[in-house]
Every structure is written in structure tokens, then in C-alpha cells.
């Protein structure tokens, strides 16, 4: 899966601190952990982690704990930490660091689990660096000298194959392969290197925002548009949906014809699909 060229191209994963969806406990972010897993299968121990934020963040050790089960058993994880406060903007810091590091392939989750969580950061980074960006990767199939071939997640379990030119930023979907467990030993051995010499700027856009605890979204009710009480009552009292077409006294062959005609009409069963299956 990984040709020797991939060794020359260092892979970087952007990690952030996550929150457990139910307990709210800090830990690995689900999508970022998948990005790290994807990076470990691609580049092995040469994967470099980057985090912009607080060095005391407990989730960082959880990511470093994923450096096990690799070819080189004595390996230890490395994480570059770009110090900044939560009010600062991570984009200029990361952009400067990435431009200097000379890496070609950056993996990240689609959206952070803390803070704004807008998923805009990879796009702003790519725009600033002039790199290509692709969202929602499920697997990376091949890494060539100047191209990456990957599968992108589409709705309803479908996949699309894309070819992306390097250098590029790839965000990883939740449907990517699940991450390996974080182990204690590698987490202790992993090194967190604080990068000096970068000054963070304050994020000007988020200054006027008002943060509030998330409210439950109201459920949409079935609205009956009628000015007249009688019609509204009828609509409320009526059964939710009228029954469809019921066909009785059919032989199995007739029923099969009706079923196939219905599926073709609704474009669920297409001619090419059947023909394509017949080819091999």
C-alpha cells in the first residue's frame, strides 16, 4: 500500500482535544484519532503530530499512545506543540509551521469537538498555503510522487475515488477505519516538543460572539395550512398516510413484472447495473 516514495514525503496529522459525546470527558477526538490511524498505516513511525494550544492538554498523550504495533518497535511518537491560548487564531501558527516543515500530506479530522468546531480550519489553511484540500476521506489507496488516490465518503454508504495532487490537506470522515487503542507505555515515551519563536495572534472574528449552552432543537410539527377549523380538524384526525396500491390475484411472474417495473420507474434498478453484473 505504501510505496517507497511515501517515505520521502513526511505525513503530518493535526490533532485537537476531544470530548466524549455523552460524558463530556476530555480525550481523543474521534475524527482526529482516525486521521492519526490513517497516518500511521501510511507512514508508520514517521508520522508527525501537530497541535496548536495548551501543552497540558490531557488528550495529547492519548494520541502519542497510538504509536504501537508498528514495524519498528522502539519507536516513539513526536508531537510538535505550537503554544497559544484558546482566544488565539490557530491558522497563522499552523500555516507557518507547515510551510517550514516541508511536509506534503496533512491529515486532519473534519471538525473539532471543542471550541467553534466549524470545520473551517483545514480550508483556511489550504487557502493560505495554496494547497489542495479534500474532505471526507474513507481510505487512502495510493501515494505517488505527486498524487494521492483516495476514496471519499458519499451519503448512503457510497464511495467516490478521487485523485488529488500533492501537497494536499485531507480531512478524514467518521466512516474511516476505527483507530487503534491508545496504550500507556507509548503515551509515556512520546515526546511533546514545544515550538518556540511563533507568536500567536488573537482571533478577531470571534470577539463579539455570545457562547451559550446548546439548546435542544425544536421538532418540526406537521403544519396544516388552512384558515378553516374544520379542515384543520380533519387533517389532524386523518390517518397519517393514505395506503398505496394493493395488487391481488397475481401469479408470481406477474408480481415480479410489476415489481421490476416499479423499481425501474423509481430509478432504483437501472438497466446498466444489471448488464454490468452480467459482464464478468
Amino acid at each position: 500500500m505504501t510505496p517507497p516514495d511515501a517515505a520521502a514525503c513526511p505525513v503530518v496529522a493535526l490533532v485537537s482535544s476531544g470530548r466524549h459525546p455523552v460524558s463530556g470527558r476530555p480525550g481523543r477526538a474521534r475524527e482526529d484519532a482516525r486521521a492519526v490511524e490513517m497516518g500511521l498505516t501510511l507512514a508508520g513511525a514517521r508520522l508527525q503530530l501537530v497541535h496548536a494550544g495548551n501543552a497540558e492538554e490531557p488528550a495529547l498523550r492519548d494520541y502519542l499512545g497510538m504509536y504501537h504495533g508498528l514495524d519498528d518497535s522502539a519507536v516513539q511518537g513526536e508531537l510538535a506543540l505550537l503554544p497559544m491560548t484558546p482566544a488565539d487564531d490557530a491558522v497563522p501558527l499552523l500555516a507557518t509551521w507547515l510551510a517550514e516543515s516541508g511536509c506534503q500530506l496533512v491529515l486532519a479530522g473534519q471538525r473539532a469537538e471543542c471550541g467553534e468546531g466549524s470545520g473551517l480550519l483545514p480550508y483556511l489553511l489550504a487557502e493560505r498555503l495554496g494547497w489542495t484540500i479534500v474532505s471526507g476521506a474513507a481510505t487512502i489507496e495510493r501515494v505517488d510522487v505527486d498524487r494521492v488516490t483516495l476514496l471519499q465518503v458519499l451519503p448512503q454508504g457510497q464511495r467516490r475515488r478521487l485523485e488529488v495532487s500533492l501537497p494536499c490537506l485531507i480531512t478524514v470522515d467518521t466512516l474511516a477505519p476505527p483507530p487503534r487503542q491508545s496504550a500507556f507505555g507509548p503515551a509515556r515515551r512520546g515526546r511533546i516538543q514545544v515550538v518556540d519563536g511563533l507568536t500567536a495572534e488573537e482571533d478577531s472574528a470571534s470577539g463579539e460572539w455570545r457562547w451559550q449552552p446548546a439548546r435542544a432543537r425544536p421538532k418540526r410539527l406537521k403544519i396544516v395550512k388552512s384558515g378553516n377549523a374544520r379542515d384543520r380538524f380533519r387533517a389532524a384526525a386523518a390517518r397519517s398516510s393514505a395506503g398505496g396500491q394493493v395488487l391481488t390475484d397475481l401469479t408470481p411472474e406477474q408480481a415480479a413484472d410489476r415489481l421490476i417495473a416499479y423499481l425501474r420507474e423509481e430509478k432504483i434498478l437501472s438497466e446498466e447495473k444489471i448488464l454490468g453484473d452480467e459482464m464478468p
Binding site: 463530556g24 463579539e208 449552552p213
Partner: protein, 437 residues
């Protein structure tokens, strides 16, 4: 002295306007003398129906004769008011996703949100589409329509040329707001790309940062979902990426969707440099590998299925994911992970075929969000037949076998021994069961 007799049944029918025989008993007059000589006035019988179907009583003394309710214009269904905006003060751009070339519910909600932003300021809601003709833009609420299908190939995934086309639209019209559907990899991706591109030009200042996962806009403030169970309330930004059900879809008005052409679009996209993302097309996915909750097409079997090997073969021929009712799982015919229903998986398929499933309440809850349901069952009175859009009253096994035959892949041809010794049908069936197990 004659005593006034009251028929209690007739009185009850008279009071109940929903009674089927109400018209027979209803008094023609709105004012009459009651049993004790007191004047009675029926407020429901006076006045006249207004334009919105609401009864209005004119107290000025003018006599307004009521019309019979049956002939009111409401019965024929609400008609939409036509709205034309000739000189808009600005534009609100909506980029609908249009999966399968049709407006989705999410798209209609987006247009509803756009109308909410546009109304009161005489802004024109403009739809930007990459596919050729999209039906229903008038009812959805678009005043203008920009068709970019000439510059962008709507069928392939080419985010960079789409972005270039949107940037040329931005340069030509400089709209107040851009609205996208926040879903990956469609509108969410494109909207974030545009937000990143526009944030580079410093002219827009602080509110150039896009608001993502917006779920409510009220009083000029956008409420968007952030990470870690927080909401962010902020001034309306230029670019909004909205969640489904962010606003009510347009239902009372009708708009013109006047086509607008952008001249600059062609020249800008042509001098793009190297293409970063190349679409190599869809990948064939094994339907059995798709998680059941995401599967678009499900063939589901229940107690009425006897020939499970034939069922698996039919699922393969149709290209459907397999589902099962609880009974089929409890009997050991299907794995637990394939169970559909309240105790199994809630499915969102666009087509669901239920073979030999009578439709327990828990199962019907599980398929409540399916768009089309086909039932194949021997019992015409079962609940699944009532729920189904198409119900075929026949034996499920025989119908599935006939379907495979009609599609040119009968199951008998699959094991080679079964063709040669056609006489020993029972034996080959036994063997096939062993194969399936």
C-alpha cells in the same frame, strides 16, 4: 297549550357540524326563537367567509348573507400568492445541493431561510445551480436563477471549477449573503471553500468568517451549533452553512425564478491552472458492506420467507442490502446486526422491500423514514400492506425467484450440478441450504 317538543337527536346533530347529516338538520335561519321565547342567534350562521377562509361578522348593521361552506374556495386547496421583485436592493444567493437533480427538503429549508433574510429588505433570492434545469425553484422561493451548467460539469465532483464559478458570481453580483447546505461532501465542502477564498480578500472584515451548522436565524442573529455542547450567537455573517430544518420552507408564495446570466463566468474558469482534484468516478460498493442505517436499498425478509438461499440470491441480483424482521433473526436465519426495527436498526432507505413481513409496530417504527415501501405478502390485511406504497399479494419466495428469472439470473443456473440433474430438485435444494449455511 301546545308544548314545544325537542328531538334530542336532532339537536345533537344540529350542534355537531361534523356530523354527516348536519346539513339536513341545520337551521336555515341564524336567528330564531328559543323554547322559552328567548331569541337565539347562531354566530356560525352569520357573516361571510373572508379571502383567507376565516369567517368575518360584519357588526355595522349591513346584512351579510352566508354562503354554504361546501362552496368555499378553501376546499380546492390553498393557492399561492405570486411575488415579483423587479428592482432588488441586493441578492441572497442559495446554492442548493440537488441530489439526483431535484430539490431536497434541506434545499427547501435553505430557500425558506433565504426568504426570511430577504423579506422586508426587498432582496432577491437567487438560486445558483450546476445542473441544467431544476424543477420547482418557483415554489421553493427563488426570485432569480443563475444556471452555471455551461461552465461547470454538474455530474462530476469538481470543487475547484465550481468554486471559480461561484467566485465569478460573487464578483458580478456581490450578494449580501450566501447560503449553503452544511453537509459533506456537497454544500458543506463548497461553502467552506468559498468562505476561505473570500476571507483572503480583506474587504469584508470581521464578519467574513462563515457561520457553520446554523440552525436558527432570528432578529438579525444567527444561532449555530459549536463543539462541546455549545451554541454560538452572532451577527449575521455573509456566508451561512445551515443544517436541515433551519427554517420553514416557503408555502404561501410563488416566485418567478427569472434566469440571470453571468458573462464573466466562462473566461474566469478557463484560465485555471493545474487541476488539484480529479474525480475518477463512483466505486462499486458491496451492498452487504454498507451499514444498514445508511443503505439506500434494502430487501428485508420475515417469517413468510421459506427459501433463504433464494432470498440471498435475490438480494445479490437486485443489488440490495439485506434486512430482516425480529422473527427471522430469532429463528437464526439472519444475523442480529441485520434486524430492522425499534429493537434493531432504524433504516433510512429510499426503497425498502418487505418480503413476508406482516409489519409489527416495532418494525414499522424502524422503517418510518423510508421513502418507498414495497410489500410482498400473502395476507392482504396485514399492517405492512397498509403502510406500503406498492403491495403485491403473492408468495414471497416464488416472486423473488421469478424476479431473478426475469432479470436473467435464475438461481438454478448458479450451482452447475443443479442444471445437469434437473430431475432431483429436492436434493439440489438440500445441497444449496448446506451451501448457504
Amino acid at each position: 297549550m301546545n308544548v314545544r317538543r325537542i328531538d334530542p337527536y336532532a339537536e345533537r346533530i344540529r350542534r355537531n357540524r361534523l356530523h354527516p347529516r348536519h346539513q339536513e338538520f341545520a337551521r336555515p335561519a341564524w336567528r330564531w326563537a328559543g323554547p322559552n321565547g328567548v331569541t337565539r342567534i347562531d354566530p356560525h350562521a352569520i357573516g361571510a367567509l373572508g379571502p383567507n377562509g376565516i369567517r368575518r361578522i360584519d357588526r355595522s348593521g349591513a346584512v351579510v348573507e352566508t354562503q354554504p361552506l361546501a362552496s368555499s374556495p378553501i376546499e380546492s386547496g390553498p393557492s399561492r400568492r405570486m411575488v415579483v421583485i423587479d428592482d432588488p436592493a441586493g441578492f441572497v444567493m442559495v446554492v442548493p445541493e440537488c441530489p439526483e437533480g431535484r430539490l431536497s427538503d434541506h434545499d427547501r429549508d435553505l430557500f425558506g431561510l433565504a426568504r426570511q433574510l430577504a423579506d422586508g429588505q426587498t432582496l432577491a433570492v437567487t438560486a445558483v445551480t450546476f445542473q441544467g434545469a431544476v424543477a420547482g425553484l418557483e415554489e421553493a422561493g427563488a426570485d432569480r436563477w443563475i444556471d452555471l451548467s455551461a461552465t461547470v460539469d454538474g455530474d462530476t465532483h469538481d470543487p475547484e471549477s465550481r468554486l471559480a464559478a461561484l467566485v465569478s458570481v460573487e464578483a458580478a453580483m456581490s450578494p449580501r449573503h450566501w447560503l449553503f447546505a452544511d453537509s459533506f461532501p456537497g454544500g458543506g465542502d463548497l461553502g467552506r471553500r468559498l468562505a476561505a477564498r473570500l476571507s483572503r480578500s480583506s474587504s469584508h472584515g470581521a464578519n467574513a468568517r462563515a457561520a457553520t451548522r446554523v440552525w436558527q436565524v432570528a432578529e438579525g442573529l444567527a444561532l449555530s451549533r459549536a463543539g462541546d455542547r455549545q451554541d454560538i450567537q452572532r451577527e449575521l455573517p455573509r456566508i451561512l452553512l445551515a443544517l436541515p430544518e433551519c427554517a420553514k420552507p416557503v408555502s404561501e408564495t410563488r416566485h418567478e425564478a427569472r434566469p440571470v446570466s453571468i458573462d464573466a463566468a466562462g473566461s474566469k474558469t478557463s484560465d485555471m491552472t493545474a487541476v488539484g482534484v480529479v474525480d475518477l468516478g463512483r466505486v462499486a460498493v458491496d451492498p452487504q458492506q454498507i451499514p444498514l442505517s445508511q443503505a439506500p436499498f434494502i430487501l428485508s425478509g420475515g417469517r413468510g420467507v421459506g427459501d433463504w438461499a433464494g432470498f440471498h440470491h435475490a438480494a445479490e441480483v437486485l443489488g440490495a442490502s439485506e434486512g430482516a424482521s425480529r422473527v427471522a433473526v430469532d429463528d437464526g436465519n439472519m444475523p442480529r446486526a441485520r434486524q430492522v426495527g425499534a429493537t434493531g436498526t432504524f433504516v433510512f432507505a429510499s426503497c425498502y422491500i418487505a418480503v413476508g413481513i406482516s409489519g409489527a409496530v416495532q418494525h414499522l417504527q424502524g422503517i418510518a423514514k423510508c421513502q418507498r415501501v414495497v410489500a410482498i405478502n400473502r395476507d392482504p390485511g396485514c399492517d405492512m400492506v397498509k403502510r406500503a406504497d406498492l403491495a403485491l399479494i403473492a408468495d414471497g419466495d416464488a416472486v423473488l425467484a421469478a424476479v431473478c428469472e426475469r432479470l436473467g439470473k435464475p438461481r438454478a443456473a448458479e450451482p452447475s450440478e443443479a442444471v445437469s440433474e434437473a430431475g432431483s430438485g429436492a436434493l439440489s435444494k438440500e445441497e444449496r441450504y448446506h451451501d448457504a449455511a
